[in-house]
Amino acid sequence: MNEPAALTDPPTSSATHAPRSIGEPSHALVDRSLVAVGGGAACIVGLVLVAVAVVVLEMALPSLRELGFGFVTGRHWDPVHGDFGALPFLFGTLVTSLVALLLAVPVALGVALFLTDLGPPLLRRPVAALVELLAAVPGVVYGLWAAIVLAPLLRTTVEPALEAHLGFLPMFRGPKVGVGLLCASVVLAVMILPTIASMSREVLRAVPAELREGGLALGATRWDVVRRIVLPHAKSGIFGAILLGFGRAVGETMAVAMVVGSRADITGSLFSPGYTMASVIANEFAEATSTLHVAALAEIGLLLFGVTLAFNVTARLLVSRVRGPEAALARVARPREESA
């Protein structure tokens, strides 16, 4: 364990020497019951997670049994005729999340470096506060803005411009309707930007100040320090932050549902309407009538759960590994508490 672990005795061994009066319950008893409450609450967290996994799996069972592996390779989704192929949703989620990452990562890294190394110190705090505000705006408000402001802007200005200059690529050709994969990607990029920026900032901050000072003392410029010392040191943590952003993009539902166009189709064009895993659940779950339709949507939920789980766990491992040295330094800084 990395953290200072001074208190190691098991919960039950906690004895108390406080005087007690007759008639009051013994402190040991109160103590034990309060430990039980805390432990119970911790159990609830674990049980909720297990319950989520089990319930989604159980709901998806009819679909898993009946459709088998064809579910993830099927290209047609037509609940009315009993056609359930989830590939268009996997495709839509992958495309929108990847494009969102491409748009968001360079900007987010720029912001993170601004906040830790490159920006004028006076501006760092207000910029950090604004970026956090960006994270606080509810997804549905992003969706509203994207549907009413961004989509028309894409249709009238951005998409024609992209086609005119980059139209030789098939992904920048097609019907210019505004709502579609591109619009969803842009909203997602805006939404995951603060996640990646603030996680990266934390990772960059964890790079020991001694390393930076050493570099500067040797005559390196701030950028040299960033490029040669800070970034290599924080590499895997930044990768973790990016994965975390990807996990958020995959799971984001409302903003995407409002602008993705809601058509279960696989096309090569970013302009055309599509669908994602989370948004099809949001749109169809309440109206699904047949058992198989509900189960198929639950199986999409199960896939979504699996994907986000894998990404989040990997990301957290990467980020905590980088946080490690800082925690170690902190321990060295106050060894007295460690020895207790």
């Binding site: 364990m1 953290e3 208190l7 919960p11 906690s14 108390t16 020497h17 040991a28 109160v30 103590d31 309060l34 430990v35 805390g38 432990g39 609450a41 911790a42 609830i44 967290v45 909720v48 997670l49 319950a51 989604v56 159980e58 709901m59 720029g110 912001v111 470096l113 490159l118 970026v131 505000l133 960006l134 606080a136 509810p138 549905v140 408000v141 509203l144 803005w145 549907a147 402001v149 805006v190 410029t221 950028w223 975390l244 996990g247 799971g251 984001e252 539902t253 409302m254 409002m258 989370a278 659940i281 949001a282 779950f285 639950a298 979504l304 759960f305 986000t308 789980l309 508490e337 207790a340």
Partner: protein, 284 residues
């Protein structure tokens, strides 16, 4: 003062300047959508906001006027109930995770909380639908609140955990030496010392679920009228924004902007207050 050395390294200083400029540009790009959204929400929202927005029920399309009184109350009710469920359990779990951090249960609990925090909220929605709505055979405020509570739980637990762990062990040892029991310490020493941070964390968790929409779609559903009890479906600002945005009517779009303004105001105020609470003792 310029020296020869500076001149020799001008290439590097140039690169440093370019990097600084690039990071400034990145900040500008990041802030454009934020400012655009806030500006649009403020401008269009204020234009559509009126007294009746806060006092009357939604009107059918074309009648004009009408408001979202039931949705505003619905959001407060949902978030209030969710907080009642999620915050106490979250704080208790968080304290356990911090005070018994080396036990197996604490490690499993911390891992579960981290994983649960990353589960997409729509999945929590379908789980609560299957467990609560299907059993009770009705959409209800209670089901919506439960879904939101599940989302709050890991946030509150992990914040409490992290903050409780910043409380120096010397304080715990002093209390132990005075004969206090472990949970007395947890409540009277650790919780009290970390309380500004924990309060701020709870506010941020509340702010976070105020905006959650996806898990409400199949749990609290929607309601054109007031909900009579917690067992009735309820309207909420979040779901109303979604429904009205997806409609083709300009009236409803205007109402959606107004609802967005109210929602963003709630969230921003909670965030600012949380920040204030967090900074309070340090400034003093």
């Amino acid at each position: 003062m310029r020296t020869e050395l500076d001149a020799a390294y001008s290439g590097r200083t140039l690169a440093a300047r370019a990097a600084t400029a690039a990071s400034c540009i990145a900040v500008a790009i990041a802030l454009v959508p934020l400012l655009a959204i806030l500006l649009y929400v403020a401008q269009r929202g204020l234009g559509a906001l009126s007294w009746s927005f806060f006092t009357s029920l939604p009107k059918p399309v074309g009648e004009g006027g009408g408001g979202m009184a039931n949705a505003i109350v619905g959001t407060l009710e949902l978030v209030g109930l969710a907080s009642l469920i999620g915050i106490p359990i979250g704080i208790a779990a968080g304290l356990f995770l911090a005070e018994y951090r080396t036990t197996l249960l604490a490690r499993v609990g911390r891992f579960s909380a981290d994983v649960l925090a990353g589960v997409p909220s729509i999945i929590v929605g379908i789980v609560v639908y299957a467990v609560v709505v299907v059993r009770m055979q009705r959409f209800s405020t209670l089901a919506g609140a439960l879904a939101l509570a599940v989302l709050m739980l890991p946030l509150v637990a992990r914040t409490t955990d992290e903050l409780a762990r910043t409380v120096p062990d010397s304080l715990r040892e002093a209390a132990l030496a005075l004969g206090a029991s472990r949970w007395r310490i947890a409540i009277h020493v650790v919780l009290r010392t970390a309380s500004p941070g924990i309060r701020a964390g709870c506010m941020l968790a509340v702010a976070r679920v105020c905006g959650e929409t996806a898990p409400l779609l199949f749990t609290a559903f929607n309601n054109r009228f007031w909900n009579e009890s917690v067992l009735d479906p309820t309207s909420s600002l979040q779901v109303q924004i979604f429904t009205y945005t997806m409609s083709p009517y300009d009236d409803w779009h205007a109402q959606a902007w107004a609802a967005a303004l109210v929602l963003v105001a709630i969230v921003v105020v909670l965030n600012l207050v949380a920040r204030r609470v967090l900074r309070g003792p340090r400034a003093a």
